[in-house]
Symmetry: C2
Subunit: 495 residues, 2 copies
């Protein structure tokens, strides 16, 4: 796959703006075409939501953000693009004409992906000269967070195009799902539509309100569907005999009148109003913007939770972070540290789930920041994952912290590190946590680390290359003044 | 509501056994009726799964577990019960006969709840003398973890019965949802059935495999449905104009052929086999038991994540934990501490998400255990949530930790605390973390706390009642020997 440096997005609504945010987050300069008079405001609002979300989503080093530019000139948006994503209104003829026009301006080798949630790519290709370059790349709201993107090729297709699109979407943190056959509405939307239609009947027939139906989802099956789809859920529910048992037991219910399957409710004004009012009641005064932020916080928390389980969308996030670390490493491998100064390596942001009831960082998280900084230090001296996999590591044996200042959620932090002493088995470090905006010292941490043979669970000398690296640092750091609080015991009077 | 001390469960399959586990977890002695020869084994397996899940779910003090007894005598299971939950096979006549027989043995005032996923309570009541005591209480697998339970009353009904059932289910950590009208399959299963039917078509027509359909759910809409139902999701997706805009835009699609709504697939052997094989492929060698544990870990992680957001199933968990803390407080309010000894208060279990890649407790979590123990200490001396809400608190200003031993996930811990000194503004504590099984010391922590006026952000003397309580402790603790490591600085040689 050619590297995607520049992208064009056609349409700047909720979907198009979120694509732009996802592209820019991954370092891709993006030009958005939208002729609407309030396009800039709407674009800015979605980009701000996305930026807020990414700051919480990962501690991995984020790419230098790409630029997002808005234009009312279609040619401007697509002429330099390495990838084009369309997110215009859902009208077939409008899209067909757009694709023909885009082709006139874009480079011949560039993939054009449609965000349509319903039209078949074969129909979208109708007026194109090189139809095989068009695919559907169907995302899900909020596009900057949800990993799923359905890829569908038309009758005119190219394996290169689908493979490249798949690789590109995966490189920006998504889970691309290649759909085997063209069908209206593809897979995910058909499932949602079936459920939605049944939900509408339940409201119309006063079996339940919109809120009650939503509760029936989010307190039950929704918790399962965030991690396993309907087949896997039923497979597990079948107990020891799995899916065959489940289908034998519940298969007959398909023929029972358990859904309004044979009919579809009339979406007249009365039903629309009923639903809209019930949705407003459910929101309890929260605005759509409030709900968007709540939704994003929940999505991030769920994806981070699944990350601890290395499962589903959490695995996608892990894979994405691995890419980010790799990219940042390859960029920084030539970093030359100046060991005549304190070492500044670790930077982070106070995560929302690190805070107490009062929104300040919990005291235990100060130690975590010191640990993470120590990890960066150890990586630098060659105690990297390979070294650890070889059965050797440094263990923390002692810690002294001075908690000096509080710090609130989402504030930036950085750490500076000084080596106090070292020998064959031990490293003695002193570190400071600074506020990233005010440069105020928030805490100091003094720690002793012992080199161990992890299998034997006993101390042993570090390998020569690690000791050599420590020596390089010591050449500089031995000339630094000793930190005022080093060697201090709890409660000791300041001198 | 009368207090539920004893429960009867009729049917010991996946659902019944999980009800028993949930009841016993909440201190309710439970007798399970099941005549099957392998009932004990199946019951034990589900109870073990549930016990494993509860150990991870919450740090709140769990109730003393109720006893679970299996019987092949229906009368035995229900005669002393304060609440009866039926979970027998889904055959209407069998259930009708069961309820008539249960009535003959149970106390007249006891609620009988059916776990049926489809039958209307009016039909289930057909052969009963006191039909109004029967409701449907429809749970979701795994019943010991998922909060949702649908409550449906029949034509013969009592508001007292539904209110009592609702209160009871809420008291055992569930989210009861009262369904307004009787309808086959109620609400949640109708929604699942609609989606399931569409999913079956997609497999039959080779649009996607079972795994691909599952991925279309869990990487997309499933992540939304774990926190907001379909109406709220669409409401938010509508952007600034909300639901009305959404329905205007996507309402017409209901009339398009976006689902196979007019038909239902024949569940012949070929389709069943196709799905079963695809499910096996998706599982990649994981057994159903493996998948159950993975599912539970994911559910716990998702619910804990939502707890940090105070939302949905996370709020249910918060409410449940508040009850657990309250119950444990009311039980221990008369606890008399012996201050001539070290204080032993805080106990916990190493949470799975506290661990490093090597499954050992992360070093920062040692400090968290010390913090949690300090919280218990502060609560004991009167620095409780009310005191803190009044604008005063103790802040940690200094910490010294000796990390002595590793400890793995799910191992039990307890902490002992010694007061080293105190004055009007300061408390100086020394604490030890012990392994709950081996009584080995895993870490020591020495900390200084400063009493502050949180609004003014400055130190000030604690209130007299707090100082009096500290004095009581000091009367005893001043006679204890000083801990060996107290006053120690990092790297200081042991004497």
């Amino acid at each position: 796959m050619k590297s995607i440096q520049k992208a064009g997005v056609v349409g700047g609504g909720v979907i198009g703006a979120a694509w732009a945010a996802r592209f820019a987050e991954n370092g891709i300069d993006t030009v958005v075409f939208d002729p609407a008079p309030d396009a800039q405001r709407k674009l800015d609002e979605v980009v701000a939501l996305a930026d807020r979300a990414y700051a919480k989503l990962t501690l991995a080093p984020r790419a230098k953000k790409g630029a997002i530019t808005l234009t009312t000139d279609l040619a401007e948006a697509v002429k330099d693009a390495d990838f084009i994503q369309e997110a215009a209104p859902e009208r077939l003829e409008l899209k067909q004409d757009l694709f023909a026009e885009i082709e006139g301006h874009a480079r011949a080798d560039v993939i054009i992906a449609s965000s349509t949630s319903g039209f078949k790519p074969t129909d979208l290709q109708a007026k194109m000269v090189h139809p095989e370059r068009l695919i559907v790349g169907h995302p899900f709201n909020p596009v900057y967070l949800l990993p799923l993107v359905e890829i569908i090729a038309g009758e005119k297709k190219s394996d290169d195009v689908t493979a490249s699109a798949k690789a590109f979407y995966a490189s920006i943190g998504m889970h691309p799902l290649l759909i085997r056959k063209e069908i209206d509405a593809f897979v995910a939307d058909r499932l949602m539509e079936a459920l939605w239609r049944e939900a509408l009947w339940l409201v119309k027939d006063d079996i339940a309100t919109a809120e009650e139906i939503d509760d029936a989802i989010r307190f039950g099956c929704g918790l399962r569907w965030a991690q396993m789809g309907t087949f896997q859920v039923f497979n597990v529910a079948g107990g020891e005999a799995g899916m065959r048992h489940f289908m034998a037991q519940f298969g007959p219910a398909l023929k029972w009148p358990w859904t309004k399957l044979m009919d579809t409710p009339e979406m007249d004004d009365a039903l629309i109003e009923k639903i809209a009012v019930q949705c407003e009641e459910q929101s309890e005064g929260l605005s759509i913007r409030d709900l968007e932020r709540i939704r994003d916080n929940n999505l991030i928390a769920i994806m981070q939770a699944l990350k601890t389980q290395k499962w589903g969308a959490g695995q996608t996030l892990l894979d994405y972070e691995a890419q980010l670390y790799k990219r940042s490493h390859s960029g920084s491998s030539e970093t030359v540290h100046d060991f005549s100064q304190l070492i500044r390596m670790h930077e982070t942001v106070v995560q929302p789930d690190w805070t107490d009831y009062n929104n300040h960082m919990n005291e235990a998280r100060y130690l975590q920041v010191f640990c993470d900084s120590t990890d960066a230090f150890l990586n630098m001296i060659g105690v990297d994952p390979d070294y650890v996999a070889g059965g050797h590591s440094y263990y923390t044996v002692e810690t002294h912290i001075q908690h000096l200042q509080e710090v609130a959620a989402l504030e930036p932090l950085y750490v500076k590190t000084q080596m106090i002493s070292h020998d064959e088995k031990r490293i003695h470090l002193f570190q400071w946590i600074y506020h990233g905006k005010t440069d105020e010292v928030l805490a100091t941490g003094e720690q002793m680390f012992l080199h161990v043979d992890a299998n034997a669970s006993k101390a042993c000398p570090a390998k020569p290359e690690v000791l050599a690296r420590l020596g390089e640092i010591w050449d500089g750091h031995q000339h630094l003044p000793a930190p005022e609080a080093a060697g201090r015991a709890v409660g000791q009077r300041r001198s």
